[in-house]
Every structure is written in C-alpha cells, then in structure tokens.
C-alpha cells in the first residue's frame, strides 16, 4: 500500500511539473507559434513571475524584502503583470527589428534579470534565495492561513487543525497537481479561442506574409508586441506556479537556462509549434523522457558499477550532461526531419467554429 501511494505521489509530481512546463510552452507558443517571435529568455520571464509571487505572498522574513503575506491570487496576478511589463519594454525596442536581434535581446534580458536577482541581496536575499513560499492547498495547513480570513469564516483554528490531522500527510499533493492541470486547461481553452478569433487569424497572416498583412492595413508591430506580452504573462503565471511547487527559489540553479529555456523549446518544437495541443503534448512527452532518462542512466551506471571496476563517481556527475547532449541532438533531428512536430499546426477554415 505504501508503495502504491509512493507511485501515486510520483505520478502527481510528474503531472505537476509537466503542467508547469505545459504552461511555459503554451506561453512560448503564443510568441513563436502564433507570432513567429524567437524568445530565448524564457528563464528570465519565468524567474520574474516566480520572484514576484514569492516576495508578495511569503510571510514576513528578515532575509529579504517584505514577505508581504498577501493572498495567493494577488501574487499570481502580480507575477503575470510583472512579467508582462518587462516583456513590453523589450518588445517595444526589439520587435521592429529582425528576429535575430530579438533573440539576442531576450537572452540578454534573461542574464540581466539573473544579475539583478543575484546582486540585490536586501530585496531578494541574493544567491541564497527565498524559501517557505506558500504552496496552494498545502498552505491551508499553515497557521497564518487558517487563523486569517477567509478560512476563519468557516471554522475555528482548532477545527481546521483537527481536519488536517485526520487527513494523510500527502493530501494536498493530488489537489495541487489537479489545480495545475485545471490551470493548463483554462489557459489552453482561452488560447484556442484567441487562435480562432480575428486576432489569431491576423497573427497567422502577419507571420506568414508580413508585407501582405501590412498592405491590408494591419498594425503588424502592435500585434506582435501584444503576442509577446501575452506569452510572457503566461510564462509569469508558470513562474508563480513553479515557485509554489519548489517552495525555495534562488537565481541561478532554479532558473538554469538549459533546463528552462532550452527544454521548453524542445518541447514546443517536438509537440508542434503553432498548435496548442501540440505544446501540451510535447511538454508532457519530453518531460517524461527527461525524467525517465535520469532513471535509465542511473540504472546503467549501477550495472557498470556491478560488473566492472570502473570508478563510477565521474560517470554519475557527468551523466546529466549526457542527457543534455542527447536532448540537444534530438532537437536538431526534429528540426531537420519533422519541422512540423507531432501535431502540426491546423489552420482554422473560413467557417469553422470549433
């Protein structure tokens, strides 16, 4: 039984992280799939969302600014707004230039954000990061939440305490995973609606034939900036959820560009850029492959350890880089052989409503 619960909880965490990646990939899909904007600063926009959420919602702490202890929803909305604001500045400057410049500028802004987070120790606690970030569902078991409204309206602190002590310790895990899946679904439905709306069709027109769209009187730059901001806001949301999931964030390893930016690109390209369902499918697929490859490589190392005298210490420290190498080659392979991805983009027909 305990083992079954263990598998179930592992499945929950796979779902949760896969869902977070799906959110980022959906945001990237708005930028790249809809508008053809090449953003390689994903880690930066996600970290802005995560830090905004963390600083606004954590309890007061002497280590960093505030800990304002605001409601979780406020933190999530603020994370989206902050990420959107940063992207608006970058977008206004770089989007009128060719995509290469946007790529350089986004990779630059991600580095600058990392520098700011690392160096402003009095606000962000620098490289040591922020911890005890409230996680949705689990936070209800914390004293400051059940003592305060809205939870105190329904029951007294003692009642809440007895309810939580009667539940198994892991009760919040499936709830948390489910909430992320619901968030992914809501974002997906909204984006599908947007894709089929006049706005979405205009985006496709601009991406496919910019001069024609321009000649038809469409505000090309304006639409692109809108798509860029919208995508970054979704990344900011994903950042807030990531902060919840990790509970401890710091500027460098948490937001490692090779694990966030690069992996998300592989997910979107593999799943099918321009297709929202493809973005979600790609995220879960690549995430499962990524997690499974860790297990496979560890098993392989153990086999080598059992049957040979090779010193495996070096192997296990370098296995992570081998995974990165293989994922990189996978990206090159998909780019050349299957540029459309698993689920290619399907254009809405003139009359389709679904």
């Amino acid at each position: 039984m305990d083992q079954l619960i263990g598998y179930f909880l592992y499945f929950c965490s796979l779902l949760a992280v896969g869902g977070i990646y799906s959110l980022i990939a959906l945001g990237l899909n708005v930028q790249w799939g809809f508008a053809g904007l090449f953003n390689v600063g994903i880690a930066g926009f996600v970290s802005i969302g995560a830090y905004t959420y963390a600083l606004l919602t954590t309890d007061t702490s002497p280590l960093h600014y505030g800990g304002l202890g605001l409601p979780l929803a406020v933190g999530i909305v603020a994370a989206m707004v902050a990420s959107g604001l940063i992207s608006a500045i970058i977008g206004v400057i770089c989007i009128r230039l060719r995509s290469d410049y946007l790529a350089i500028a986004t990779i630059g802004i991600a580095e600058i954000i990392k520098l700011v987070l690392k160096n402003n120790s009095e606000i962000t606690n620098g490289p040591r990061g922020i911890n005890k970030i409230p996680r949705l569902w689990e936070n209800f078991t914390e004293e400051r939440f059940y003592n305060d409204w809205p939870m105190s309206w329904f029951a007294s602190a003692e009642t809440w305490q007895s309810i939580f002590s009667s539940l198994p310790r892991w009760w919040w895990q499936p709830c948390f995973a489910l909430s992320i899946i619901i968030a992914v679904y809501v974002v997906y439905r909204l984006l599908e609606k947007l894709r089929l709306s006049p706005w979405g069709r205009m985006m496709t027109a601009i991406r496919e034939n910019e001069p024609a769209a321009h000649a038809a009187g469409k505000n090309v730059t304006g639409r692109r900036i809108e798509a860029f901001i919208l995508g970054s806001m979704i990344m900011g949301l994903a950042g807030a959820v990531l902060a919840m999931h990790l509970r401890l964030i710091e500027p460098t390893n948490t937001f490692d560009p090779s694990k966030l930016t690069f992996l998300v690109w592989v997910m979107l390209i593999a799943g099918g850029s321009g297709n929202n369902r493809g973005a979600i499918l790609g995220s879960f697929l690549i995430w499962v492959i990524w997690s499974a490859s860790e297990i496979v490589i560890n098993v392989g190392i153990n086999v080598i350890d059992d049957f040979t005298n090779i010193h495996v210490g070096i192997l296990s420290t370098r296995a992570g880089y081998l995974r990165m190498l293989l994922i990189g080659l996978l990206l090159q392979y998909i780019l050349q052989k299957y540029p459309l991805g698993i689920l290619p983009e399907s254009r809405p027909t003139a009359s389709s409503k679904t």
Partner: protein
Amino acid sequence: MWESFGFEFVNFYFVPGIVLGCIYALGAIGITLTFGILRFANFAHGEVMMTGAYVTWTIMALTGALFGWALHPLIAAIPSVFLMILVFFVVDRFFYKPFRKAPTIKVVMASFGMMLVIRSLVQILWGPNQITFVKGIAKPNSFIRELTGSMDMMILVPNKHFLIMGGTVVIVMLLGYLLTYTRIGKAMRAVSDSPDLALVTGIDVEVVIRATWIVGGACAVAAGVFLATDIQMLETTMGFRMLLPMFAAAILGGIGKPYGAVLGGLVIGLAEELSSYPWIGDAPLLSPGYKSGVAFSIMIVMLIVRPSGIFKGRTF
C-alpha cells in the same frame, strides 16, 4: 596627479579594459562575419571559443606529460585552431547547411541548440569543474615598471596582458591584409555587402562561407586562449559569458564590418571596466556585479538609436 588619479585609473581600469576589449574584439570578428555573410546570429560562437581554450590546454598537458615539453599556449593553440575550424565545418555541414534556403530563424534555432550540444560535450569530456590554465601569479613586467617608474608614472602591466594586446594587433593586421588585398577577402566583403550582386559576378558562395568559418574559427580560438591566459583558468561557462558582450560589440560596430567589431569590442571592454571606476565620490559608479549589464545596455541603446552600428553595417 599621477599618484592620486592616474596610477589607479590606468593600471586597474584602463589597461584591463583594453585587454578585455581585445578578447571581445577577436570573438566579435567571427560573429560579425557570420552574421554578415551567412546572415544569422551564431549562438554557438562563444562555445567554440571555450572549446578552443580547452583543446589548447589539453595539448599543453599532453605534450607536457608525454615529452616533457612546456609548450607556450600560443603554440599549443595552432593545432587547436585547425581542430576548431574542423568543428565549425562539421557543424555547418550537418546542422546549418540543411537550413540555407529556409527562413533564417531556423538556423538561429539550430545554432542555439548547438550551443548546448557543444557545451555539454565539453562538460562530459572535461568535467564541469574549473581547470587551472596557467599556474602562478602574473607579475608586472619589471622593465616597463622601472622605466615608467623612473618617469614618475609607474605602469604595472603583466606580460600576459602584453601578449594579449600584441597578439590582437597582429591578428587584426593579418585580417586587414586578408580582407583588403586577397581575392577571397574581397569576395567575403562582397558577399557581406550584397549577396545577390556577389553571386552575379561569379563568386562561389560556398567557398566564401568556408573562408568565413576559417577566419571566425581562428579568431575564436585566439580569443578563447587569450581569455584563458587572462583569467588563468578554464570554465565551461566562459564562452556563454562572452557571448552577450560579443554580440553587443558586433552590433555596435555594424553587422558585417570586422573593423567595426574590433572597435566595438574595445568600446565594450573599456566601458565594462570603467563603469566600476569611482567617477563620483569614492564608491564605484556601478557595482562590479552589474558589469556584464553594461554591454547589454550599450547594445539596447544602439538598437534604438542606430541599429546599423557605428560603421553603417547591415540591418535586417
């Protein structure tokens, strides 16, 4: 005057700025040529720099262990240059060439992927930890110190900095000769200025592309080795750290303009070092932690004010 202002300024801010600028300049030459001739921002360039330095170190260590030679980094860099040019050829053939006719963003994406592939390969082969490139503390050149000291303006420049500055001057002069007087150099400039016109006049674009990788590869290895000589160690992230300043230098100088890249590199290098000089009061003008933000700010300002750069390069 010298005691209160010049000594500190020249020795601790100006000379290191020039040295850093030389390294940026050499890296930016490759980036600007690739951008001008192949028309894409090569994100893998910094990683080739880094790999070149690692290969150079390996050659030094191997010859030291096998034959007991203590090779100078610059000599060990020669085989490394050939190897890195080969790497560029292989990467171009298998990962960039399939996208020659496709929209350029595809090849940018491929180069972004190559950046991680090359880096993880280096991390697998050499491990993620820092490696000491040259041992010991670099002492200032005693001849210059005594000469300038007797004139009451002591200048402390270690030999490694002379090596970097001198090496850069030689390489840039060679490059100038190549681009101005040789057939292939003229063809490279022609393709960079107008690819269609170059094609009409019978220039073989594939040959020009190969020449671009050779020049870019040689400069990249030189930049990597100089960087390793300067900081005296090897890190797998040092290529990525150089990438943004090098792009900034290329854009500042004008895309496709090698001299622009050299000037841009020097400006960026100086600006980064001088930004932490205490211009106002005693505190550094900008905390040294933000040094690498300077290059980015210069690049952003340039993109707003004059995207074609100082030397009127291409804009896309």
